[in-house]
Symmetry: C5
Subunit: 88 residues, 5 copies
Protein backbone atom coordinates (compact mmCIF):
# COMPACT_ATOMS: atom_id res chain seq x y z
CA UNK A 1 0.00 0.00 0.00
CA UNK A 2 1.17 3.53 -0.56
CA UNK A 3 0.71 6.72 1.42
CA UNK A 4 -1.17 9.38 -0.52
CA UNK A 5 -2.62 12.81 0.06
CA UNK A 6 -6.10 13.44 -1.31
CA UNK A 7 -5.81 16.54 -3.51
CA UNK A 8 -9.04 16.71 -5.48
CA UNK A 9 -12.15 15.33 -7.15
CA UNK A 10 -12.68 14.06 -10.65
CA UNK A 11 -15.92 13.83 -12.64
CA UNK A 12 -16.71 11.66 -15.63
CA UNK A 13 -20.25 11.44 -16.97
CA UNK A 14 -19.47 8.99 -19.74
CA UNK A 15 -17.96 5.93 -18.11
CA UNK A 16 -18.03 2.17 -17.85
CA UNK A 17 -21.22 1.34 -15.93
CA UNK A 18 -19.59 -0.38 -12.93
CA UNK A 19 -18.11 3.02 -12.04
CA UNK A 20 -21.55 4.58 -11.52
CA UNK A 21 -21.97 5.98 -8.03
CA UNK A 22 -18.33 5.63 -7.07
CA UNK A 23 -16.45 8.62 -5.63
CA UNK A 24 -13.34 9.28 -7.70
CA UNK A 25 -10.56 11.19 -5.96
CA UNK A 26 -7.29 12.57 -7.29
CA UNK A 27 -4.44 11.48 -5.01
CA UNK A 28 -0.76 12.34 -4.83
CA UNK A 29 1.65 9.71 -3.56
CA UNK A 30 3.89 10.93 -0.73
CA UNK A 31 6.57 9.47 1.52
CA UNK A 32 6.38 9.19 5.33
CA UNK A 33 7.32 12.88 5.65
CA UNK A 34 4.45 13.91 3.35
CA UNK A 35 6.90 14.78 0.61
CA UNK A 36 5.48 14.23 -2.87
CA UNK A 37 7.03 11.49 -4.99
CA UNK A 38 5.52 13.01 -8.12
CA UNK A 39 2.92 10.36 -8.80
CA UNK A 40 -0.62 11.57 -9.33
CA UNK A 41 -3.42 9.10 -9.92
CA UNK A 42 -7.11 8.42 -9.40
CA UNK A 43 -8.51 6.22 -6.61
CA UNK A 44 -12.00 5.22 -5.55
CA UNK A 45 -12.77 6.36 -2.02
CA UNK A 46 -14.55 3.86 0.24
CA UNK A 47 -13.79 5.47 3.62
CA UNK A 48 -15.19 9.00 3.11
CA UNK A 49 -11.81 10.69 2.96
CA UNK A 50 -11.61 14.45 2.68
CA UNK A 51 -9.39 16.77 0.68
CA UNK A 52 -5.98 17.16 2.35
CA UNK A 53 -6.16 13.94 4.34
CA UNK A 54 -3.39 11.38 4.25
CA UNK A 55 -4.71 7.99 3.22
CA UNK A 56 -3.72 4.39 2.55
CA UNK A 57 -4.19 3.42 -1.10
CA UNK A 58 -4.17 -0.11 -2.51
CA UNK A 59 -3.60 -0.79 -6.19
CA UNK A 60 -4.00 -3.59 -8.69
CA UNK A 61 -6.40 -6.51 -8.27
CA UNK A 62 -6.64 -5.74 -4.53
CA UNK A 63 -8.55 -2.55 -5.28
CA UNK A 64 -11.45 -4.60 -6.64
CA UNK A 65 -11.59 -6.56 -3.38
CA UNK A 66 -12.08 -3.25 -1.54
CA UNK A 67 -15.44 -2.88 -3.25
CA UNK A 68 -16.39 -6.48 -2.75
CA UNK A 69 -17.20 -6.77 -6.43
CA UNK A 70 -14.86 -8.76 -8.62
CA UNK A 71 -16.13 -7.10 -11.81
CA UNK A 72 -15.83 -3.45 -10.89
CA UNK A 73 -13.45 -1.64 -13.22
CA UNK A 74 -11.03 -0.02 -10.76
CA UNK A 75 -7.36 -0.54 -9.98
CA UNK A 76 -6.83 1.84 -7.04
CA UNK A 77 -8.84 2.42 -3.85
CA UNK A 78 -8.54 4.52 -0.71
CA UNK A 79 -8.94 1.97 2.12
CA UNK A 80 -7.90 3.90 5.24
CA UNK A 81 -7.49 7.39 6.65
CA UNK A 82 -4.11 7.75 8.36
CA UNK A 83 -4.21 9.04 11.94
CA UNK A 84 -0.48 9.06 12.50
CA UNK A 85 2.83 7.77 11.21
CA UNK A 86 5.69 7.17 13.64
CA UNK A 87 9.06 6.75 11.99
CA UNK A 88 12.30 6.38 13.94
Amino acid sequence: MVICKVIGHLWATKKEESLNGLKLMVVEQVDHKEKSVNKIFVAVDIVSAGIGEKVIVVTGSTARKALGKENVVIDAAIVGIIDSIEVK
Copy 2:
Protein backbone atom coordinates in the same frame (compact mmCIF):
# COMPACT_ATOMS: atom_id res chain seq x y z
CA MET B 1 -6.44 4.57 -12.37
CA VAL B 2 -4.37 7.11 -14.21
CA ILE B 3 -5.27 10.27 -16.06
CA CYS B 4 -4.32 10.13 -19.74
CA LYS B 5 -4.74 12.21 -22.85
CA VAL B 6 -5.74 10.36 -26.01
CA ILE B 7 -3.13 11.24 -28.62
CA GLY B 8 -3.64 8.82 -31.48
CA HIS B 9 -4.72 5.59 -33.12
CA LEU B 10 -2.81 2.39 -33.70
CA TRP B 11 -3.44 -0.32 -36.29
CA ALA B 12 -2.30 -3.92 -36.27
CA THR B 13 -3.60 -6.38 -38.87
CA LYS B 14 -1.72 -9.38 -37.56
CA LYS B 15 -2.78 -9.84 -33.95
CA GLU B 16 -4.00 -12.28 -31.33
CA GLU B 17 -7.62 -13.03 -32.28
CA SER B 18 -9.28 -11.70 -29.09
CA LEU B 19 -8.09 -8.23 -30.15
CA ASN B 20 -10.22 -8.30 -33.33
CA GLY B 21 -12.68 -5.44 -33.47
CA LEU B 22 -11.19 -3.55 -30.52
CA LYS B 23 -10.30 0.13 -30.87
CA LEU B 24 -6.66 0.63 -29.93
CA MET B 25 -5.69 4.15 -28.86
CA VAL B 26 -2.32 5.67 -28.07
CA VAL B 27 -2.50 7.49 -24.73
CA GLU B 28 -0.10 9.72 -22.84
CA GLN B 29 -0.23 9.72 -19.06
CA VAL B 30 -0.59 13.18 -17.52
CA ASP B 31 -0.95 14.67 -14.07
CA HIS B 32 -3.94 16.68 -12.80
CA LYS B 33 -2.63 19.78 -14.61
CA GLU B 34 -2.44 17.90 -17.91
CA LYS B 35 1.34 17.86 -17.76
CA SER B 36 2.85 14.80 -19.41
CA VAL B 37 4.66 12.33 -17.18
CA ASN B 38 6.42 10.82 -20.20
CA LYS B 39 4.59 7.52 -20.31
CA ILE B 40 3.08 6.55 -23.64
CA PHE B 41 1.11 3.34 -23.97
CA VAL B 42 -1.76 1.65 -25.77
CA ALA B 43 -5.25 1.24 -24.31
CA VAL B 44 -8.48 -0.27 -25.61
CA ASP B 45 -11.26 2.30 -25.78
CA ILE B 46 -14.69 1.22 -24.54
CA VAL B 47 -16.26 4.65 -24.08
CA SER B 48 -15.85 6.17 -27.57
CA ALA B 49 -13.18 8.65 -26.53
CA GLY B 50 -11.86 11.12 -29.07
CA ILE B 51 -8.38 12.42 -29.82
CA GLY B 52 -7.38 15.13 -27.32
CA GLU B 53 -9.80 14.06 -24.62
CA LYS B 54 -8.68 13.44 -21.07
CA VAL B 55 -9.64 9.96 -19.94
CA ILE B 56 -9.48 7.52 -17.03
CA VAL B 57 -7.35 4.47 -17.83
CA VAL B 58 -7.22 1.22 -15.84
CA THR B 59 -4.35 -1.21 -16.16
CA GLY B 60 -3.51 -4.80 -15.29
CA SER B 61 -6.09 -7.53 -14.74
CA THR B 62 -8.78 -4.87 -14.24
CA ALA B 63 -8.58 -3.94 -17.94
CA ARG B 64 -9.93 -7.36 -18.87
CA LYS B 65 -12.93 -6.80 -16.59
CA ALA B 66 -13.72 -3.66 -18.59
CA LEU B 67 -14.45 -5.83 -21.61
CA GLY B 68 -16.37 -8.39 -19.60
CA LYS B 69 -14.25 -11.14 -21.11
CA GLU B 70 -11.70 -12.83 -18.90
CA ASN B 71 -9.72 -14.14 -21.86
CA VAL B 72 -9.24 -10.99 -23.88
CA VAL B 73 -5.57 -10.16 -24.27
CA ILE B 74 -5.43 -6.57 -23.02
CA ASP B 75 -3.85 -4.91 -19.99
CA ALA B 76 -5.05 -1.30 -20.35
CA ALA B 77 -8.49 0.18 -21.08
CA ILE B 78 -10.06 3.61 -21.31
CA VAL B 79 -13.06 3.42 -18.96
CA GLY B 80 -14.19 7.04 -18.60
CA ILE B 81 -14.06 10.44 -20.29
CA ILE B 82 -13.11 13.13 -17.78
CA ASP B 83 -15.46 16.12 -17.59
CA SER B 84 -13.53 18.04 -14.99
CA ILE B 85 -10.88 17.78 -12.32
CA GLU B 86 -11.04 20.02 -9.26
CA VAL B 87 -7.81 20.16 -7.27
CA LYS B 88 -7.32 22.42 -4.28
Copy 3:
Protein backbone atom coordinates in the same frame (compact mmCIF):
# COMPACT_ATOMS: atom_id res chain seq x y z
CA MET C 1 10.27 -9.87 -3.60
CA VAL C 2 12.12 -6.77 -2.52
CA ILE C 3 14.48 -6.08 0.35
CA CYS C 4 13.14 -3.45 2.73
CA LYS C 5 14.06 -1.89 6.04
CA VAL C 6 11.25 -1.44 8.56
CA ILE C 7 11.28 2.24 9.51
CA GLY C 8 8.04 2.85 11.38
CA HIS C 9 4.43 2.24 12.29
CA LEU C 10 1.24 3.62 10.83
CA TRP C 11 -2.17 3.97 12.45
CA ALA C 12 -5.55 4.34 10.80
CA THR C 13 -8.74 4.17 12.84
CA LYS C 14 -11.11 4.60 9.93
CA LYS C 15 -10.38 1.81 7.49
CA GLU C 16 -11.84 -0.95 5.36
CA GLU C 17 -12.90 -3.66 7.81
CA SER C 18 -10.64 -6.47 6.52
CA LEU C 19 -7.69 -4.36 7.75
CA ASN C 20 -8.85 -4.57 11.39
CA GLY C 21 -6.23 -6.11 13.63
CA LEU C 22 -3.45 -6.05 11.05
CA LYS C 23 -0.08 -4.51 11.91
CA LEU C 24 0.77 -1.82 9.38
CA MET C 25 4.45 -0.97 9.02
CA VAL C 26 6.20 1.73 7.03
CA VAL C 27 9.02 0.20 5.00
CA GLU C 28 11.79 1.63 2.86
CA GLN C 29 13.03 -0.39 -0.10
CA VAL C 30 16.81 -0.91 -0.12
CA ASP C 31 19.36 -2.73 -2.27
CA HIS C 32 21.61 -5.58 -1.11
CA LYS C 33 23.97 -3.04 0.53
CA GLU C 34 21.10 -1.51 2.54
CA LYS C 35 21.19 1.59 0.40
CA SER C 36 17.77 3.22 0.02
CA VAL C 37 16.19 3.22 -3.43
CA ASN C 38 13.82 6.00 -2.39
CA LYS C 39 10.64 3.96 -2.28
CA ILE C 40 8.60 4.22 0.90
CA PHE C 41 5.42 2.20 1.28
CA VAL C 42 3.18 0.40 3.74
CA ALA C 43 3.22 -3.36 4.32
CA VAL C 44 1.31 -5.69 6.63
CA ASP C 45 3.64 -7.54 8.98
CA ILE C 46 2.96 -11.25 9.50
CA VAL C 47 6.33 -12.26 10.97
CA SER C 48 6.62 -9.90 13.96
CA ALA C 49 9.35 -7.75 12.44
CA GLY C 50 10.86 -4.93 14.47
CA ILE C 51 11.91 -1.42 13.58
CA GLY C 52 15.30 -1.39 11.86
CA GLU C 53 15.14 -4.99 10.66
CA LYS C 54 15.74 -5.94 7.06
CA VAL C 55 12.81 -7.88 5.68
CA ILE C 56 11.48 -9.61 2.57
CA VAL C 57 8.37 -7.89 1.19
CA VAL C 58 5.96 -9.33 -1.39
CA THR C 59 3.62 -7.12 -3.37
CA GLY C 60 0.54 -7.43 -5.54
CA SER C 61 -1.91 -10.33 -5.39
CA THR C 62 0.72 -12.42 -3.60
CA ALA C 63 0.38 -10.25 -0.48
CA ARG C 64 -3.19 -11.46 -0.03
CA LYS C 65 -1.96 -15.08 -0.07
CA ALA C 66 0.33 -14.22 2.85
CA LEU C 67 -2.73 -13.68 5.00
CA GLY C 68 -4.50 -16.72 3.68
CA LYS C 69 -7.56 -14.62 2.96
CA GLU C 70 -8.38 -13.86 -0.66
CA ASN C 71 -10.57 -10.89 0.28
CA VAL C 72 -8.24 -8.96 2.56
CA VAL C 73 -7.52 -5.51 1.15
CA ILE C 74 -3.71 -5.44 1.13
CA ASP C 75 -1.13 -5.34 -1.65
CA ALA C 76 2.14 -5.61 0.33
CA ALA C 77 3.23 -7.92 3.15
CA ILE C 78 6.38 -8.57 5.16
CA VAL C 79 6.92 -12.34 4.83
CA GLY C 80 10.43 -12.89 6.20
CA ILE C 81 13.09 -11.37 8.44
CA ILE C 82 16.47 -11.40 6.70
CA ASP C 83 19.32 -13.00 8.68
CA SER C 84 22.02 -12.39 6.12
CA ILE C 85 22.70 -11.53 2.50
CA GLU C 86 25.81 -12.84 0.81
CA VAL C 87 26.66 -11.11 -2.45
CA LYS C 88 29.82 -11.82 -4.41
Copy 4:
Protein backbone atom coordinates in the same frame (compact mmCIF):
# COMPACT_ATOMS: atom_id res chain seq x y z
CA MET D 1 -0.16 -2.49 -23.63
CA VAL D 2 3.15 -0.98 -24.58
CA ILE D 3 4.79 -0.32 -27.93
CA CYS D 4 8.04 -2.23 -28.36
CA LYS D 5 10.61 -2.87 -31.04
CA VAL D 6 11.83 -6.44 -31.41
CA ILE D 7 15.61 -6.32 -31.14
CA GLY D 8 16.75 -9.91 -30.72
CA HIS D 9 16.42 -13.53 -29.71
CA LEU D 10 17.20 -15.26 -26.44
CA TRP D 11 17.99 -18.92 -25.82
CA ALA D 12 17.74 -20.90 -22.61
CA THR D 13 18.19 -24.66 -22.60
CA LYS D 14 17.61 -25.11 -18.90
CA LYS D 15 14.18 -23.71 -18.14
CA GLU D 16 10.85 -24.31 -16.46
CA GLU D 17 9.08 -26.90 -18.63
CA SER D 18 6.04 -24.77 -19.61
CA LEU D 19 8.50 -22.56 -21.55
CA ASN D 20 9.47 -25.40 -23.89
CA GLY D 21 8.82 -24.58 -27.53
CA LEU D 22 8.05 -20.91 -26.92
CA LYS D 23 9.84 -18.24 -28.95
CA LEU D 24 11.56 -15.81 -26.60
CA MET D 25 12.31 -12.37 -28.04
CA VAL D 26 14.23 -9.44 -26.60
CA VAL D 27 12.16 -6.27 -26.92
CA GLU D 28 12.85 -2.61 -26.28
CA GLN D 29 9.98 -0.38 -25.17
CA VAL D 30 9.55 2.73 -27.30
CA ASP D 31 7.17 5.67 -27.46
CA HIS D 32 4.90 6.54 -30.40
CA LYS D 33 7.88 8.11 -32.24
CA GLU D 34 9.93 4.92 -31.88
CA LYS D 35 12.17 6.58 -29.32
CA SER D 36 13.52 4.14 -26.73
CA VAL D 37 12.34 4.56 -23.15
CA ASN D 38 15.28 2.46 -21.91
CA LYS D 39 13.33 -0.61 -20.89
CA ILE D 40 14.60 -3.91 -22.28
CA PHE D 41 12.75 -7.11 -21.47
CA VAL D 42 11.83 -10.56 -22.75
CA ALA D 43 8.47 -11.43 -24.32
CA VAL D 44 7.01 -14.58 -25.83
CA ASP D 45 6.08 -14.11 -29.47
CA ILE D 46 2.74 -15.54 -30.59
CA VAL D 47 2.31 -13.58 -33.83
CA SER D 48 5.55 -14.47 -35.68
CA ALA D 49 7.11 -11.06 -35.30
CA GLY D 50 10.47 -10.34 -36.94
CA ILE D 51 13.52 -8.45 -35.77
CA GLY D 52 13.04 -4.70 -36.19
CA GLU D 53 9.23 -4.81 -36.19
CA LYS D 54 7.15 -2.62 -33.91
CA VAL D 55 4.82 -4.70 -31.80
CA ILE D 56 2.15 -4.55 -29.11
CA VAL D 57 3.25 -6.20 -25.88
CA VAL D 58 1.01 -7.18 -22.96
CA THR D 59 2.40 -7.81 -19.49
CA GLY D 60 1.34 -9.38 -16.21
CA SER D 61 -1.40 -11.99 -15.87
CA THR D 62 -2.74 -11.01 -19.31
CA ALA D 63 0.34 -12.51 -20.97
CA ARG D 64 -0.72 -15.96 -19.81
CA LYS D 65 -4.12 -15.47 -21.47
CA ALA D 66 -2.31 -14.88 -24.76
CA LEU D 67 -1.12 -18.47 -24.70
CA GLY D 68 -4.48 -19.81 -23.59
CA LYS D 69 -2.77 -21.70 -20.79
CA GLU D 70 -3.25 -20.44 -17.26
CA ASN D 71 -0.18 -22.28 -15.97
CA VAL D 72 2.43 -21.14 -18.46
CA VAL D 73 5.22 -19.27 -16.73
CA ILE D 74 5.35 -16.03 -18.71
CA ASP D 75 4.56 -12.42 -17.84
CA ALA D 76 5.03 -10.69 -21.21
CA ALA D 77 3.80 -11.55 -24.71
CA ILE D 78 3.90 -10.02 -28.17
CA VAL D 79 0.24 -10.01 -29.27
CA GLY D 80 0.23 -7.80 -32.38
CA ILE D 81 2.44 -6.45 -35.14
CA ILE D 82 1.90 -2.72 -35.58
CA ASP D 83 1.09 -1.56 -39.11
CA SER D 84 0.89 2.13 -38.34
CA ILE D 85 0.51 4.67 -35.57
CA GLU D 86 -1.25 7.95 -36.26
CA VAL D 87 -0.65 10.60 -33.60
CA LYS D 88 -1.96 14.17 -33.93
Copy 5:
Protein backbone atom coordinates in the same frame (compact mmCIF):
# COMPACT_ATOMS: atom_id res chain seq x y z
CA MET E 1 10.17 -11.41 -18.19
CA VAL E 2 13.33 -9.56 -17.36
CA ILE E 3 16.99 -10.43 -17.79
CA CYS E 4 18.83 -10.62 -14.46
CA LYS E 5 22.25 -11.58 -13.18
CA VAL E 6 22.32 -13.73 -10.05
CA ILE E 7 24.52 -11.89 -7.56
CA GLY E 8 23.97 -13.59 -4.22
CA HIS E 9 22.07 -15.59 -1.64
CA LEU E 10 19.71 -14.49 1.07
CA TRP E 11 18.79 -16.26 4.29
CA ALA E 12 15.74 -15.78 6.49
CA THR E 13 15.03 -18.15 9.37
CA LYS E 14 11.81 -16.47 10.45
CA LYS E 15 9.50 -16.51 7.48
CA GLU E 16 6.02 -17.31 6.22
CA GLU E 17 5.81 -21.11 6.14
CA SER E 18 5.21 -21.53 2.38
CA LEU E 19 8.74 -20.17 1.87
CA ASN E 20 10.33 -23.10 3.73
CA GLY E 21 12.79 -25.00 1.58
CA LEU E 22 12.85 -22.46 -1.23
CA LYS E 23 16.18 -21.10 -2.52
CA LEU E 24 16.16 -17.32 -2.32
CA MET E 25 18.58 -15.52 -4.63
CA VAL E 26 19.50 -11.87 -4.91
CA VAL E 27 19.27 -10.77 -8.54
CA GLU E 28 20.20 -7.60 -10.39
CA GLN E 29 18.17 -6.63 -13.45
CA VAL E 30 20.30 -5.98 -16.53
CA ASP E 31 19.73 -5.08 -20.17
CA HIS E 32 20.69 -7.20 -23.18
CA LYS E 33 24.31 -6.00 -22.87
CA GLU E 34 24.48 -7.09 -19.22
CA LYS E 35 24.45 -3.48 -18.09
CA SER E 36 22.73 -3.01 -14.71
CA VAL E 37 19.48 -1.05 -14.66
CA ASN E 38 19.85 -0.49 -10.91
CA LYS E 39 17.08 -2.80 -9.76
CA ILE E 40 18.01 -5.35 -7.09
CA PHE E 41 15.42 -7.82 -5.87
CA VAL E 42 14.89 -11.32 -4.52
CA ALA E 43 13.70 -14.26 -6.63
CA VAL E 44 13.06 -17.92 -5.90
CA ASP E 45 15.29 -20.18 -7.98
CA ILE E 46 13.64 -23.23 -9.56
CA VAL E 47 16.29 -24.04 -12.19
CA SER E 48 19.43 -24.40 -10.04
CA ALA E 49 21.04 -21.20 -11.24
CA GLY E 50 24.51 -20.27 -10.01
CA ILE E 51 26.04 -16.99 -8.95
CA GLY E 52 27.05 -14.90 -11.95
CA GLU E 53 24.65 -16.57 -14.39
CA LYS E 54 22.24 -14.59 -16.53
CA VAL E 55 18.70 -15.73 -15.97
CA ILE E 56 15.09 -15.14 -17.00
CA VAL E 57 12.97 -13.84 -14.12
CA VAL E 58 9.17 -13.70 -14.03
CA THR E 59 7.34 -11.45 -11.60
CA GLY E 60 3.84 -11.01 -10.19
CA SER E 61 1.19 -13.72 -10.09
CA THR E 62 3.14 -15.68 -12.73
CA ALA E 63 5.88 -16.41 -10.19
CA ARG E 64 3.45 -18.50 -8.16
CA LYS E 65 2.66 -20.58 -11.25
CA ALA E 66 6.38 -21.40 -11.50
CA LEU E 67 6.14 -23.31 -8.25
CA GLY E 68 2.87 -24.97 -9.19
CA LYS E 69 1.37 -23.84 -5.90
CA GLU E 70 -1.19 -21.07 -5.98
CA ASN E 71 -0.70 -20.26 -2.29
CA VAL E 72 3.05 -19.90 -2.12
CA VAL E 73 4.03 -16.40 -1.02
CA ILE E 74 6.41 -15.32 -3.78
CA ASP E 75 6.24 -12.68 -6.50
CA ALA E 76 9.47 -13.34 -8.43
CA ALA E 77 11.03 -16.55 -9.75
CA ILE E 78 14.05 -17.54 -11.81
CA VAL E 79 12.58 -19.73 -14.58
CA GLY E 80 15.44 -20.12 -17.05
CA ILE E 81 19.21 -19.92 -17.39
CA ILE E 82 20.17 -17.87 -20.43
CA ASP E 83 22.57 -19.56 -22.88
CA SER E 84 22.84 -16.67 -25.30
CA ILE E 85 21.25 -13.44 -26.41
CA GLU E 86 21.52 -12.35 -30.02
CA VAL E 87 20.65 -8.72 -30.63
CA LYS E 88 21.00 -7.04 -34.01
